[in-house]
Symmetry: C2
Subunit: 250 residues, 2 copies
């Protein structure tokens, strides 16, 4: 089973993002989608979307503590996002799965783009596997550098001295390894860029990483970001009490 | 058969967009994808993506004439995009299909988000069908207003006096209607916002429009737009001759 962990939060494009991600996941056999809302309650929007998707899923929620939440005006890198949500999913796995259950865990943000071929690569993860991620870190791609089947370093330009200069979308972890290391989790206070390292440091060394995607030469996932839609007309109409029908879900 | 016509052009996110769109279309039965590259040749990237998709497809190309092409620095609404590409697809249908062939034609840009339920709605189009589009025109959604099963007007804020104030993603046309009206096409010189009208005016009147999606009360397609990825590190490295390996496709 591939456990796909997706943190998500309410915004104008949320449903669109979850619709296209769910349509990708629907192609993947033996998949279990753990969706964790950054919200004080499970919303109707996400609940119905999951129910209608025909996917095997678990629906959780936990609100990011106020003091860690990014404000509209903060630059988008100021605070880590989705951290407590991913940790809650890890906790759920530890409470609901046993060492005898086989599986691989992948952290899939709701706005990235995933090729179906990625899931074939993920499936054979023994401990921790890694591969390239497109359109990230100010580069066309970041990737592990492989020699003789072993990861020898990383092609990355931004803070290259991080312990694991790997994007969230660029690795998967065996379920058993997470169950055996019950303290491994993401650090909410990790410095920018160090979130992935905060988990991976307790799980593997660089030499142990398993390179996927033809020795890390193929890009099968893209760190796409969706524009925030402009709502100029909506705001003008709302001032006149003529905003769009709020009962129509978008 | 639903003929989905997608204009597309080379840019950093092109492959990502086409990957996730193809993964949506792969769920739809009896679909034929007509992909038209805005390019002087068919590119290897698009050719391979189509070949690997298992979709029924036709791959065409035509470059937008220089004088109509948008420059990097132009605002994104200055020139219509994908116009000659959509017209070439119409020409292909007229040359390769006959009045006895049943089908519906839908214009699906590569960056929008489509719910699978949309294709169920499209399939029953008799002449011209319409439905809401999310996140467009500065509003949460634009939509046709329906009374007694008939379109009586439109909820839209931007240039509401357009003959058909409908986004490209918000209508479908029966193949037979396009074959019977061989002159109907998009006008490359149409004023901003009038592109859809330039085709629809020769095909239907407002009263004839067939409302879909529960009398146009459900949003099943979203006019999402993808951020242009920042390439700051890539540009710095390229200046030192250390840019990312160009043989790795992104
Ligand atoms: O306040 C927030 C912001 C983001 N996210 C989720 O965390 C993940 C990463 O966020 P984002 O894509 O905005 O980060 P970036 O693209 O900048 O890495 C996504 O799945 C978001 O839906 C969240 O749960 N709460
Ligand atoms: O020079 C261009 C620009 C755009 N397009 C295609 O035309 C459609 C509409 O373009 P875009 O999504 O940029 O328009 P907008 O979102 O602003 O309506 C998309 O399928 C693009 O891939 C194209 O073929 N050539
Ligand atoms: Mn993201
Ligand atoms: Mn678009």
């Amino acid at each position: 089973v591939i456990y796909v962990i997706t943190p998500t939060y309410a915004r104008l494009v949320q449903k669109a993002e979850l619709v296209r991600l769910s349509q990708t996941l629907m192609h993947v056999k033996n998949l279990h989608w753990i969706v964790v809302e950054d919200s004080p309650v499970k919303t109707q929007l996400v609940s119905e979307l999951l129910a209608q998707s025909n996917l095997r899923f678990t629906h959780l929620h936990t609100e990011t503590p106020k003091e860690h939440k990014r404000k509209e005006t903060d630059p988008n890198w100021l605070k880590p996002r989705g951290v407590e949500q991913r940790n809650l999913a890890l906790q759920w796995l530890r409470e609901n799965r046993e060492l005898s259950n086989e599986g691989v865990v992948y952290f899939a943000d709701d706005d990235n783009t995933y090729s179906l071929r990625l899931f074939d690569e993920i499936r054979s993860t023994k401990r921790v596997s890694v591969w390239p991620v497109g359109l990230v870190g100010g580069l066309r791609f970041e990737r592990p550098l492989v020699e003789g089947g072993k990861v020898m370093g990383f092609y990355t330009a931004w803070k290259p001295n991080r312990p694991f200069p790997v994007d969230m979308a660029g690795f998967a972890v065996a379920l058993q390894l997470l169950l055996a290391n019950r303290e491994a989790r993401f650090d909410l206070l990790a410095e920018r860029g160090y979130l992935e390292s905060s988990l991976l440091q307790s799980l593997a060394s660089i030499e142990e990483l398993e390179p996927k995607a033809d020795n890390c030469t193929k890009v099968l996932v893209w760190h796409t970001r969706t524009e925030k839609p402009k709502m100029k007309q909506e705001e003008l109409l709302q001032k006149q009490g003529l905003g769009s029908d709020p009962s129509i879900e978008v």
